[in-house]
């Protein structure tokens, strides 16, 4: 996976997160309602324009699309063959989703996680009457993004440790140590968050440090 946010001093980078996500939604709806190839074409053009304006390395960004395109082709392609839908239809479906994935990727590449999370926090504010705590949701989203590469490291480490002990492939045996590690790491992560001034009681709900 291409790193999440890729810093550039571009107009697109400076746009507010809300505008970018709102725009993405709008384009998505348009693309999915426009008939035939038109939607894909429109989204592709928007994508190309944004890609250029964002001053991102086009080659690298587009190569990120390779896996999803292969995947989409396999998904929709078989359908064409077996269900007799025709290749044209498959190509259009693949192009539509590929263009939408490109647009989504461009949003995450040009928006800092913090800004994205702030946006979610404001949106969740609307759900406060339902008992939703927007600050907590926001923090969890940020943590999730941070934990994904951390987890990748843990998986690699655990797998290597198993191979080193002569077990080349044992999925059940992979998950036990992985989960034990994740769960023990949770203690340290919790302490570190609170040590840095995060206070769960801060945002309306009660429940201080407890172990």
């Amino acid at each position: 996976m291409l790193g999440l946010y890729l810093h550039r001093e571009s107009v697109i980078h400076r746009l507010p997160a809300g505008a970018k996500l709102g725009g993405l939604m709008l384009v998505t709806v348009i693309v999915l309602t426009l008939p035939g190839a038109w939607g894909a074409l429109a989204a592709g053009l928007v994508g190309a324009a944004v890609l250029a304006a964002a001053e991102l390395p086009a080659g690298r960004v587009l190569s990120e699309l390779r896996a999803p395109v292969v995947m989409l082709t396999l998904l929709f392609g078989f359908q064409a063959v077996l269900a007799g839908g025709g290749w044209m239809e498959t190509a259009i479906a693949v192009a539509r989703f590929a263009a939408l994935i490109l647009l989504a990727t461009l949003v995450t590449l040009t928006t800092r996680v913090m800004d994205m999370v702030d946006l979610f926090e404001r949106l969740f504010g609307l759900l406060r009457p339902l008992g939703v705590n927007p600050a907590k949701m926001a923090l969890m989203l940020a943590l999730t993004i941070r934990f994904i590469p951390l987890l990748g490291d843990q998986v690699r480490e655990v797998r290597m440790a198993q191979r080193a002990r002569g077990v080349e492939r044992n999925i059940a045996a992979l998950f036990v140590p992985l989960l034990v590690k994740i769960l023990t790491m949770a203690d340290d992560l919790t302490a570190a968050l609170e040590a840095r001034g995060y206070d769960p009681a801060d945002t309306g709900t009660k429940n201080g440090t407890q172990r």
Binding site: E64, M71, F97, L100, I101, A104, I171, F175, L179, T205
Partner: protein
């Protein structure tokens, strides 16, 4: 209500769900829905974290996919994908994790792998199919019986995942870590 530790655990399992997307998806051939490892994450979130935290973990994952992160198997993400034929399966994951967790809290609080397997099947397979089949039928224009019949092809894989979830959750319990009561 959620302690800091709960926030961390939810985020960790949401990340785990994302991490399982790195495993290459397998296309079936006759449905525009692949076999993926990610439902295993749904089962693990439920059986290990319980209803509330498990549900939130899966919800975080869905929100991040909606925000555009390429976290679905094969590097896909964004609202567009969620509107596609597989969207129903994904959107139901928070509820599926919640149900798995709810059942776990009631019937599978020990290290007994059989019970853990059963709750994983009910929450992580039945609920997911219940969300996925009607959506698939609608979006792909398939008659619902055909969609339901096609989805049966996922059953062997999903049963294996439930087995892995049961063994793993049982191992975690035996290791003496039980965040379900914490």
């Amino acid at each position: 209500m959620l302690s800091t530790r709960d926030l961390v655990l939810c985020a960790l399992f949401a990340a785990l769900l994302g991490g399982l997307g790195m495993a290459p998806p397998i296309p079936l051939g006759f449905l525009p829905v692949p076999i993926t490892a990610q439902t295993l994450g749904v089962m693990l979130a439920g059986t290990i974290l319980g209803a509330k935290r498990g549900g939130i973990a899966a919800l975080l994952f869905v929100l991040l996919v909606a925000a555009g992160l390429p976290l679905l198997a094969g590097g896909r993400g964004g609202i567009g994908v969620l509107m596609g034929p597989t969207g129903g399966f994904v959107l139901i994951w928070p509820i599926a994790a919640f149900v798995t967790g709810w059942l776990t809290e009631r019937f599978a609080t020990t290290a007994n792998p059989i019970r853990l397997f059963a709750v994983s099947v009910l929450g992580g397979i039945l609920v997911v199919y219940a969300g996925g089949i009607p959506w698939l039928s609608l979006v792909a224009g398939l008659p619902i019986e055909k969609a339901a019949f096609g989805v049966l092809a996922f059953l062997p894989g999903d049963l294996i995942k439930a087995g892995i979830a049961a063994v793993a959750a049982s191992g975690v319990r035996r290791a003496g870590i039980l965040p379900i009561h914490a």
